[in-house]
């Protein structure tokens, strides 16, 4: 479904993403993890069309999408959310979801019906006619997902949808994502919340210093020495005891 080949992104002298390749198959839920500054969000932005890649190519459903604008990739069926929810401040929840739905139909009646379905699916049905500014953080994250779903995507990119949610809300979000997969959607997760990623992903790819250091089943990845080193530092018996991070 999504084929990332040797993608490199440089910002001046800084190599944020270094020759990363990754394949996402239809119907999979893939987690993209890594310590702070590993290049997850940069890779995410390159896929979503926010930045062009310096090198390499990205294909979605057989079509080359790197260098395309975000609205063009959205048209092809690849939609994204934002880590910090970007709500349309002057609109109601229903209207915001309709912005996405208008991509497939210019008719208000059709778009509204689609928006109502999506709102119901993400659990915002009872908030449909309220202003977006009245939503809680967890609800805003759901609205992010709802707006992307309304565009009828084949695959969605989720950027830290769990961040800032409490335990119950994380569980609800996980249920939502599983139900989306059951509906035939492919999902790429960028996530800090490892326990959430472990629970739901079919496969996990790990980035560190811009390069992909592991890619496999969640259990395999968690036992991978390189991954442990990237997150926690080298083990004590190796002589150097560096505390690399506190993400695990």
């Amino acid at each position: 479904m999504l084929q990332i080949d040797n993608v490199t992104k440089r910002f001046g002298g800084l190599v944020a993403v270094d020759a990363v390749s990754l394949t996402v198959n239809e119907g999979e839920i893939i987690g993209l993890i890594g310590p702070n500054g590993a290049g997850k969000t940069t890779l995410y932005n390159v896929i979503a069309g926010t930045f062009p890649a310096t090198q390499g190519s990205i294909h979605f459903r057989g079509q080359r999408i790197d260098g395309k604008r975000a609205d063009e990739t959205c048209m092809l069926g690849l939609a994204r959310t934002f880590q910090i929810p970007q709500v349309f401040g002057s609109m109601t929840v229903g209207d915001s979801i309709m912005v996405g739905a208008f991509l497939r139909s210019r008719s208000r009646r059709v778009a509204r019906r689609r928006a109502e379905e999506v709102a119901e699916a993400v659990g915002l049905g009872h908030r449909f006619d309220l202003p977006t500014t009245s939503l809680t953080t967890a609800e805003r994250k759901r609205l992010e997902v709802a707006r992307t779903l309304a565009t009828d995507p084949g695959m969605i990119l989720l950027d830290e949808v769990m961040a800032g949610l409490n335990h119950t809300e994380v569980q609800l979000m996980l249920d939502l994502v599983s139900s989306l997969r059951d509906g035939g959607l492919t999902v790429l997760f960028v996530e800090h919340n490892l326990s959430a990623v472990m629970q739901i992903c079919d496969r996990i790819a790990v980035l560190d210093h811009g390069a992909k250091i592991a890619d496999g089943l969640p259990t395999e990845v968690m036992e991978n020495r390189e991954v442990i080193t990237a997150y926690l530092g080298a083990p004590a018996e190796d002589g150097e005891n560096q505390a690399g991070g506190d993400h695990a």
Binding site: D95, F102, T148
Partner: protein
């Protein structure tokens, strides 16, 4: 009629507004015979139409232009030059001016749409000023008098009328057309797209909105109708010069009226023009003779007060008042409940 409600969000209250607008534009010119009031009416209609045109770009799409005088002056100059030198009817000149203005709009859009907020406003402001200066400068190379007069020869094809009320019908028709277009945009998917762009460009693009295309649509429509207003004013005043039709006042008045009435709404700019123009005239009459400039001071203070009290304009003010009344009723009920329980 069914497809209309499929594509446009038509509300019950719209009927009331339509009747009010029709009564104002087609009814008032019939009943007013005093030339002074007719003059005010013509200007109110004209400004209301142009403020509505500005509002499509500045309000709905959130691209706060301060350069609309460029389109206004282009409309006035194109039709007047075509009429005076080639004998082209101003009705055609109006269309030609609109096309030239849209051409200028495309040129300014390329750099300006890369900027946001204040920077966009400054870029468009500079553009409006630059056009006037270029026009004055061009007289070094082109043999053209500083001011252009249009001979007073009444005739429908010449868009010159004997009766002032005819001008009121003309400007009233202009206002009706612009309002219809603004209403159609606002209540269709395009209006929702424009508001999405105004609220968050990133989220709009991520939801599949081709942002540049829709900003451009808003700008082109806005430029065309502002330019048409320029042609109509030239035919009304029958004299134009660079400093009058490319005056920065137009760039400021149009956003100001939208702000007073309610920026981004269909009725807002019309209400704003209905209030601001007569207010300025009345103040001029009261203070103009005794203390020159005093009317502008008072006008400025009044505008500041209005904007501070009603940040969302009159329409926003009325809406929040209605909401407060509703809430007042429900909270009133709640207190009686508590009392009842006690």
């Amino acid at each position: 009629m069914n497809w209309l409600s499929d594509y446009f969000d038509i509300r019950r209250t719209d009927a009331i507004w339509t009747v009010l607008l029709l009564a104002m534009t087609l009814g008032l010119p019939l009943f007013i015979s005093n030339n002074y009031y007719l003059n005010v009416l013509v200007l109110v209609f004209l400004y209301a139409g142009m403020a509505s045109a500005w509002n499509i770009l500045g309000g709905m799409a959130g691209q706060f232009s301060l350069g609309h005088t460029a389109f206004f002056g282009t409309g006035a100059y194109t039709s007047t030059l075509l009429y005076n030198y080639l004998g082209v009817s101003p009705w055609l000149g109006l269309i030609a001016g609109g096309i030239v203005s849209m051409f200028f709009a495309v040129i300014i859009a390329y750099p300006a749409f890369r900027m946001r907020g204040v920077f966009f406003a400054m870029a468009t402001l500079a553009f409006g000023e630059a056009i006037r200066i270029l026009l004055i400068y061009s007289r070094k190379f082109v043999d053209m008098p500083y001011g252009l007069s249009i001979n007073w020869e009444p005739g429908f094809s010449r868009m010159i009328f004997e009766e002032r009320s005819s001008y009121a019908f003309l400007t009233g028709g202009f206002l009706l057309i612009v309002t219809l277009v603004a209403y159609g945009l606002s209540r269709s998917y395009i209006g929702t797209y424009l508001r999405a762009i105004r609220d968050s460009e990133e989220a709009a693009v991520a939801a599949g909105v081709p942002m540049r295309r829709y900003k451009m649509i808003a700008l082109l429509i806005s430029a065309f109708f502002t330019s048409a207003g320029g042609t109509i004013l030239a035919q009304y005043v029958l004299y134009i010069e660079p400093t009058s039709v490319f005056s920065i006042n137009y760039s400021i008045d149009l956003p100001l009226m939208s702000l007073i009435g309610g920026i981004g709404t269909v009725a807002g700019p019309i209400l704003g023009a209905v209030i601001a123009l007569p207010l300025r005239d009345v103040l001029l009459e009261l203070f103009g003779g005794a203390a020159a400039g005093m009317h502008l001071v008072i006008y400025g203070v009044l505008l500041m007060v209005i904007v501070i009290i009603l940040p969302d304009g009159l329409i926003g003010g009325v809406k929040s008042l209605l909401r407060r009344l509703q809430r007042g009723q429900t909270s009133g009920n709640r207190t009686t409940d508590k009392r009842g329980r006690k």
